[in-house]
């Protein structure tokens, strides 16, 4: 049998990560099909209230409390994760594909010599085999891969690919002591750093016109600004533009930037990589302009235009002013 499911929860500053509830949904679904027991592991220090909160989603919660786990470190959580896997012997280990999740999961697979499949949109068992659906090459190709193993399989689940779990009865909290050897901790937490806010907050804007690599040159930014101004909106950006310092980090829309829900989002020359889409897919109206008809942005957009944004925007501005 595929066995039990073990889920590693993620939390920061007293809050459970939304992606953890999505992974719980995936775990519960797989568990109900295979008959496996689903456990959610919570590492931390003085986090009983988070354990109680997680138990409302209907699974057994293993609470591992240790001062060494007060903050996430790859080493501390890695050591604790290994101990829990050895103690519970799951068939499948699920982690969200977040910065922290894809830090923890591959290293755990490496250290314990376990099979690994990451960034999965969907997971199912076909007999003994775990079948994972993944997206490749800028979302242009979908792949189904399978892994069969007698050892626990580690899988990471892409955030936003499943609905979060709803509350369910039957959850419990089991305090699970794990011995952490502090002499073996080689990474030490120093601090959490926040971006300095001295820019407009695009998170509160009703209208956002975002620029991506399709604008080609920094010199074309004023065109985007002019278009945003004509609509009474503000300028956002995809990651490559803030990486190149064309716009400040505070304008970045996406997983590593801001999540926005404006009334209108105009994506100019943005291909629509998962990391960007995660931050804007809930906008009420999405207009996408891109030269590539197969760009994944057209999957989330309501209105699409295959055109060079550098030609289309000036022409549209003329129409709007005319």
């Amino acid at each position: 049998m595929p066995g039990d499911v073990l889920i590693f929860a993620e939390h920061l500053e007293g809050r459970v990560a939304p992606s953890t509830l999505e992974v719980i949904a995936v775990g519960r679904e797989l568990g109900s099909r295979t008959g496996g027991h689903v456990r959610v592991v919570l590492f931390g220090h003085d986090v009983r209230s988070l354990a109680d909160l997680l138990a409302r989603y209907g699974t057994e919660v293993l609470l591992v409390d240790d001062p060494a786990l007060a903050e996430y470190t790859p080493d501390g959580y890695g050591q604790a994760a290994r101990a829990v896997v050895e103690g519970t012997k799951p068939g499948l280990i699920l982690v969200a594909h977040t910065s922290e999740g894809y830090d923890l999961a591959p290293a755990l697979a490496g250290v314990m010599d376990l099979p690994l499949v990451t960034n999965c949109l969907a997971l199912r068992f076909d007999g003994e085999r775990l079948v994972a659906t993944r997206r490749l090459l800028n979302e242009k190709v979908q792949a189904e891969v399978e892994i069969a193993s007698s050892r626990p399989i580690v899988a990471t689940v892409r955030p936003g690919s499943t609905k979060p779990a709803g509350p369910a009865a039957g959850g419990t909290v089991t305090v699970t002591p794990v011995r952490i050897d502090p002499s073996k901790l080689r990474t030490r937490f120093l601090s959490i750093e926040r971006p300095q806010v001295q820019d407009i907050d695009i998170g509160g804007a009703d209208i956002i016109v975002s620029a991506g690599r399709g604008i080609q040159k920094r010199e074309n930014l004023p065109l985007i600004e002019e278009f945003a101004k004509a609509l009474g909106g503000v300028v956002g950006a995809s990651r490559p533009l803030t990486d190149m310092d064309w716009l400040p980090k505070t304008r970045q829309v996406g997983q590593s930037g801001k999540t926005v829900r404006p009334k209108l989002y105009v994506a100019c020359g943005i291909s629509g990589a998962m990391q960007h889409v995660a931050g804007m897919k809930d906008a009420s109206l999405i207009v996408a302009i891109n030269t590539d008809p197969s760009a994944p942005i057209f999957e989330v957009a309501h209105v699409g235009i295959v055109a060079d944004v550098l030609k289309l925007l000036p022409a549209t501005l003329k129409e709007l002013k005319g």
């Binding site: 996430y72 470190t73 790859p74 594909h97 977040t98 910065s99 922290e100 830090d103 999961a105 591959p106 290293a107 697979a109 490496g110 250290v111 010599d113 099979p115 690994l116 990451t118 960034n119 490749l136 090459l137 800028n138 242009k140 190709v141 979908q142 792949a143 891969v145 399978e146 892994i147 069969a148 050892r151 080689r186 990474t187 030490r188 937490f189 120093l190 601090s191 750093e193 971006p195 004509a230 609509l231 970045q252 997983q255 590593s256 801001k258 207009v287 590539d292 197969s294 057209f298 999957e299 989330v300 209105v303 699409g304 235009i305 295959v306 055109a307 022409a315 549209t316 129409e319 709007l320």
Partner: protein
């Protein structure tokens, strides 16, 4: 403190292109692809060269790939790597990141290393797994999504990007594995003399035997992996498209924005 730095590089098909599925459905068609150095690995390479410039030491560029990857390795030499090594692993697609990472780890064991760097993800397979796996296999501490690295007190201080623009700072003992995030630095252009010089530099090749494997098929794996099939993604939804010439599209878009109340009438 001079550092021995190994940077793992990957050559990938340019993800901006269109792709077709091969007739057996197990790979993309590869006969006319344009390959490039993976985006995040460009930043990893730059970070490696900067660390060397500050602390002294050497940078070894490492890849597992077919002969075509020599071009990428020469680019790495021209941008500041002191030596490059190609593991002659010629599976063109290499879909199993676990296998490739086991091979990379075996090669890194044969190279002096204080710091192992790689990009946070490859833009073709988007696993974000190589760095962590390699760290696990080698028993080294690691940090992912690194945007800043500083040598401090015999170890490193790193900033790791989290969701929502937060960074988590760690100190980390050496030797260590780091995965470098996009935008961590500004990758340099290779100067022409360096490009000319790189064209003549040797590329060290590692065979399976050099890493203790009878063949690439004999790399021990605790699992069986297979690609079931590739397909064009089923579109979740699709935008309603505005067609026509640019002027026609502009006219329709302006009208649409007005109708929705987003522009003055």
């Amino acid at each position: 403190m001079p550092l021995n730095i190994v940077v793992c590089l990957k050559q990938i098909p340019n993800p901006d292109l269109q792709f077709q599925i091969a007739s057996d459905g197990k790979d993309i068609k590869r006969d006319a692809l344009n390959y490039k150095l993976n985006g995040a690995d460009e930043y990893a390479l730059e970070e490696a060269v900067r660390l060397k410039e500050k602390s002294g030491g050497r940078v070894v560029g490492l890849t597992a790939g077919p002969k075509r990857t020599d071009q990428m390795l020469r680019e790495a030499l021209a941008k500041g790597a002191d030596e490059v090594v190609r593991i002659a692993f010629d599976e063109p697609a290499a879909y199993d990141v676990g296998k490739v990472s086991r091979i990379l780890a075996a090669a890194i064991r044969t190279i002096p290393h204080d710091v192992v760097l790689t990009g946070v993800q490859s833009d073709d397979l988007v696993n974000s797994a190589t760095g962590g796996l390699v760290a696990g296999f080698l028993g080294l501490p690691h940090a992912s999504v690194v945007t800043r690295v500083e040598v401090k007190g015999g170890g490193l201080e790193v900033a790791c990007e989290l969701e929502g623009g937060l960074q988590r700072l760690y100190s980390i003992a050496l030797p260590a594995v780091l995965t470098i995030q996009f935008g961590a630095n500004t990758p340099r252009y290779a100067p022409l003399p360096a490009i000319m010089k790189a064209a003549r530099q040797p590329i060290k090749e590692l065979s399976p035997a050099a890493l203790g494997f009878a063949s690439w098929d004999a790399v021990p794996l605790p699992y069986a992996f297979a690609v079931r099939g590739l397909s064009p993604p089923a579109a979740k939804g699709h935008a309603e498209m505005i067609t026509g010439t640019v002027d026609e599209q502009a006219k329709k878009l302006a009208q649409f924005l007005r109708d929705k109340g987003f522009a003055r009438r």
